[in-house]
């Protein structure tokens, strides 16, 4: 099965896919922005500031999802020595990091009208900041280590240590008294968010997921061409 994921086999798909993903992203994000900024209602308590949720929450969800995926890929890549999985993980990291920064910055902007402060050392904000540092360490490690074995080991350690933080981010609002409210969207139980707000939130999440797919494809293609460039040097 892993052979199906060989770079030589999938490059023909990954090299053509970005333009279609970009078109789809523009379409979905246009619908999402219309819903988020115009059609969705204001909150009875937070008024229009609630609209920040439509960029803040999807960014946080996707950065957490990407880091979890990177950890799984790093472990599989290290155990089964599948270099392509490391390449996929490495290509996911830039968008994951940017989404993490977006979640932190938009959260900070949202905090000012809601809590009266730009920053608080609240459990969730602090754990998100720690996740950004793990992303940063991962990106730096990929840049500074030339040796393949070394980079596989270092990035594996970073992702394993970083993944410990992911459940802390998720459950921090239940474990500690934080400024953040408990989760409004639950998969197993009934969500407490109204459908008029849930719909734009889901559309914006889909748009952000498409954007991360676009960046992943472009970065993955770049990494493959980089390898081919090294191959041409050896010819």
């Amino acid at each position: 099965m892993f052979q199906l994921l060989e770079p030589n086999r999938i490059f023909s798909i990954t090299s053509k896919a970005p333009k279609y993903v970009l078109l789809l992203f523009i379409l979905v994000v246009s619908i999402g922005l219309t819903e988020a900024l115009i059609l969705s209602p204001e909150d009875y308590k937070q008024s229009h500031s609630v609209r920040i949720m439509y960029v803040h929450v999807p960014a946080a969800w996707i950065s957490l999802g990407i880091f979890s995926t990177m950890t799984i890929l790093s472990i599989v890549s290290y155990i089964f020595k599948i270099k392509n999985f490391f390449l996929i993980s490495k290509s996911l990291a830039p968008s994951g990091f940017v989404f993490n920064v977006i979640a932190l910055v938009t959260g900070s902007i949202w905090g000012k009208p809601t809590w009266g402060t730009w920053w608080a050392w609240d459990a969730r904000i602090t754990s998100m900041l720690i996740l950004a540092l793990f992303y940063l360490m991962y990106l730096i490690a990929c840049r500074i280590y030339e040796n393949k074995e070394q980079v596989l080991k270092i990035t594996l350690i970073i992702t394993i240590l970083g993944i410990i933080n992911v459940p802390i981010i998720k459950y921090s609002v239940d474990w500690w008294n934080t400024l953040h409210q408990p989760a409004s969207i639950n998969i197993l139980s009934k969500s407490t968010i109204h459908s008029s707000m849930l719909l734009p939130l889901l559309i914006m999440t889909a748009a952000f997921a498409l954007f991360s797919l676009l960046i992943f494809l472009m970065k993955y293609n770049t990494e493959l061409i980089k390898i081919k460039n090294k191959g041409l040097d050896r010819l």
Binding site: N8, K19, L37, I52, P94, M218, K219, L232, L235
Partner: protein, 75 residues
């Protein structure tokens, strides 16, 4: 209607700056990654052009090399 959309009961500055930061980050990331992609691709094309005919023929046998060379239309 337009004033309300921009002003948002006084929250406009927070809402619009959040959305602006998000989309500026998107555009910056897209441009950085696209730039890296173009740089590597141009390097590949230049290196391929410098190969002698025998080596170019052997390199061209690899499907992925053909794909890189043929797929000149970029994102």
């Amino acid at each position: 209607m337009m004033t309300e959309l921009f002003y948002m009961n006084g929250y406009g500055i927070y809402v619009w700056s959040s959305f602006a930061f998000t989309f500026l980050s998107f555009i910056s990331l897209y441009l950085v990654i696209k730039n890296q992609y173009m740089k590597e691709k141009n390097k590949f094309i230049a290196k391929f052009g410098n190969l002698n005919s025998e080596r170019a023929a052997s390199a061209r046998l690899q499907r992925i090399n053909k794909e890189i060379l043929s797929n000149t239309s970029t994102i």
